[in-house]
């Protein structure tokens, strides 16, 4: 039995308060809703899910490549095929993400206190560009050589090249397979949780005749 004193202690716990705040922000029916507002009816809505799906394929094929190390795919035809899967999933990822970005721009999807959702999307895009570049530098072939010697001038010119050396293969590989994937995955997760907690943005309304949406989302 929980005594009154214990209950007071439990209510004051950081753990309890964290749980209550998280559940209040993102109750299960908001995290995984079974209904969506009626205005969500356009093909453009699919591109967020497609971007996520492509990211999953990128990560899965990247894991297979990392099992055997960076030079494996030059020597094994299966390795080369996995490299092709990795390349094309990356191309699809960026293609879907850029359409998603333009879609959200034309929806002005930042309205109703959703600016942080927009900003995390932009940060994911930037982190993904870094992951893409370091990926090209980790290929250990002519593309890696040429892209590194081209990229060095821009990065050196702003003083960053002294610390982020694109000619250092080992450094680029660790950024590509550890630092940047964690960044992309973590910000994407935050982006998704924000989308779920705020709900998808209602259509643009030139005038308001009632209370405003404060990021509660259109879902009932």
């Amino acid at each position: 039995m929980t005594t009154i004193d214990e209950q007071a202690e439990i209510d004051a716990q950081w753990t309890t308060r964290m749980r209550k705040s998280l559940v209040a922000k993102l109750p299960p029916e908001k995290l995984l809703p079974d209904r969506q507002p009626a205005y969500m009816s356009s093909w453009i809505y699919v591109f967020g899910a497609l971007t996520m799906a492509a990211l999953s394929v990128v990560i899965l094929t990247g894991i297979v490549l990392s099992l055997e190390g960076p030079a494996w795919w030059h020597l094994s035809s299966f390795g080369h095929f996995v490299n092709s899967l990795h390349l094309w999933s990356v191309e699809l990822f960026f293609f879907f993400m850029i359409i998603h970005l333009w879609g959200k721009f034309f929806m002005a999807a930042w309205r109703g206190k959703r600016a942080l959702t927009w900003a995390t999307g932009v940060i994911t895009f930037i982190a993904a560009i870094g992951a893409g570049l370091t990926g090209y530098l980790s290929q250990t072939n002519f593309d890696s050589q040429w892209i590194s010697t081209e990229a060095k001038d821009g990065i050196n010119a702003i003083g960053v090249g002294a610390f982020f050396n694109v000619l250092n293969f080992g450094q680029m590989l660790t950024w590509h397979i550890l630092v940047l994937p964690i960044a992309v995955a973590a910000i994407t997760l935050l982006h998704l949780l924000l989308v779920r907690s705020k709900g998808i943005v209602p259509p643009i309304a030139l005038e308001a005749d009632g209370p405003l949406d404060g990021g509660e989302g259109g879902a009932a």
């Binding site: 995984l32 079974d34 209904r35 969506q36 507002p37 205005y39 969500m40 009816s41 356009s42 899910a49 497609l50 799906a53 999953s56 030059h74 095929f81 490299n83 092709s84 899967l85 990795h86 390349l87 999933s89 699809l92 960026f94 034309f106 929806m107 002005a108 309205r111 927009w118 560009i129 290929q139 072939n141 002519f142 593309d143 050589q145 590194s148 010697t149 081209e150 050196n156 010119a157 702003i158 003083g159 090249g161 002294a162 610390f163 050396n165 000619l167 293969f169 450094q171 643009i204 309304a205 030139l206 308001a208 009632g210 209370p211 405003l212 949406d213 509660e216 989302g217 879902a219 009932a220």
Partner: protein, 306 residues
């Protein structure tokens, strides 16, 4: 609760009072994954991926011996692109790029020291096991080269029993052709190496490397690093970054062109910040309302409103 501030259609949105409909999010995500997986496999089977062999000092010197020797002498006399690069590799006055009066490149200092005469020519030669005469020449040359200068565009080395410089360069070329120079260049780190900074800088000083890139439409004025070898898509998302290098004033022979890298980077960081803060920038955040593309996206909704 309705806020007290004035309603702004580019920032605010009325609470949704319309209906909802059943929607299976998990099914959508699963289907998306299956579709993308099939697309990826299809593209990979159809097109594969490019894998052009890396240029080695050996392949370069075998394919273009004259070009190699011409590059090697510029490493020795300190006139090559690498030798005169400035920070972060070495100290060359007035070459670091500037953004107005500020040079971040200079501020970062010489963090990755590269001294081409020593690193690309003298040290590798000292590891070569030639005949005794050659060994005496290289030893004498190393001593004398410490006081070498360039006079009227020609290398001027104080007299010594080192034989002609041509012999050295010939030896270096021979070393390069055998592959020994590739190994000597990365041996600085010991048995294992993951850092190819010096080899890449040396290879990039030669015209052979650039010719290979030109054949693959990879030069800076060909939209450079955005492309990859063959007819593969490369990194098209870098188009805006690469665009600046193709247009005036950044591609000109002027102060903008000389500092293009630094200015383009600052410009791109500024534009990225603008994109990130777009929801707060009046005018820019109204573009969606003005262009009316949203009428198309939510046409079902607006039709039902009418």
């Amino acid at each position: 609760m309705a806020p007290t501030k004035h309603y702004n259609p580019d920032r605010d949105v009325p609470a949704w009072k319309g209906g909802t409909r059943p929607y299976d999010l998990a099914k959508e995500v699963t289907l998306a994954f299956v579709v993308v997986a099939i697309l990826t496999v299809g593209l990979a089977v159809l097109f594969g991926s490019p894998d052009d062999k890396a240029v080695t000092i050996r392949s370069w010197s075998n394919a273009d011996q004259v070009g190699f020797a011409q590059t090697a002498i510029t490493e020795l006399d300190g006139t090559s692109a690498s030798a005169t690069y400035g920070p972060p590799y070495n100290n060359t006055p007035d070459v670091a790029q500037k953004i107005g009066p500020i040079s971040l490149q200079q501020a970062a200092g010489i963090h990755i020291p590269v001294h081409p005469a020593q690193d690309f020519v003298l040290t590798p030669l000292s590891t070569a096991k030639g005949n005794p005469q050659q060994a005496r020449w290289t030893a004498a040359y190393e001593k004398a080269a410490a006081k070498a200068r360039v006079v009227d565009g020609k290398l001027n080395v104080p007299l010594g029993a080192y034989g002609p410089v041509g012999v050295m360069i010939a030896n270096l070329t021979q070393m390069a052709s055998s592959g020994a120079l590739d190994a000597a260049m990365i041996n600085g780190a010991g048995f294992y190496s993951t850092d190819y900074t010096k080899s890449l800088l040396f290879v990039a000083d030669g015209t052979y490397y650039e010719d290979q890139a030109a054949k693959q439409h990879l030069l800076g004025e060909q939209w450079g690093m955005m492309n990859e070898t063959g007819s593969y898509p490369g990194q098209p998302w870098l188009w805006l970054y690469t665009l600046w290098y193709q247009i005036p004033p950044f591609n000109g022979d002027n102060v903008w062109g000389a500092n293009a890298d630094a200015i383009v980077w600052v410009l791109m960081m500024g534009l990225t910040l603008v994109l990130m803060l777009l929801p707060f920038i009046p005018g820019l955040r109204s573009i969606p309302r003005w262009t009316r593309v949203y009428k198309l996206i939510w046409r079902d909704h607006y039709r039902s409103q009418a």
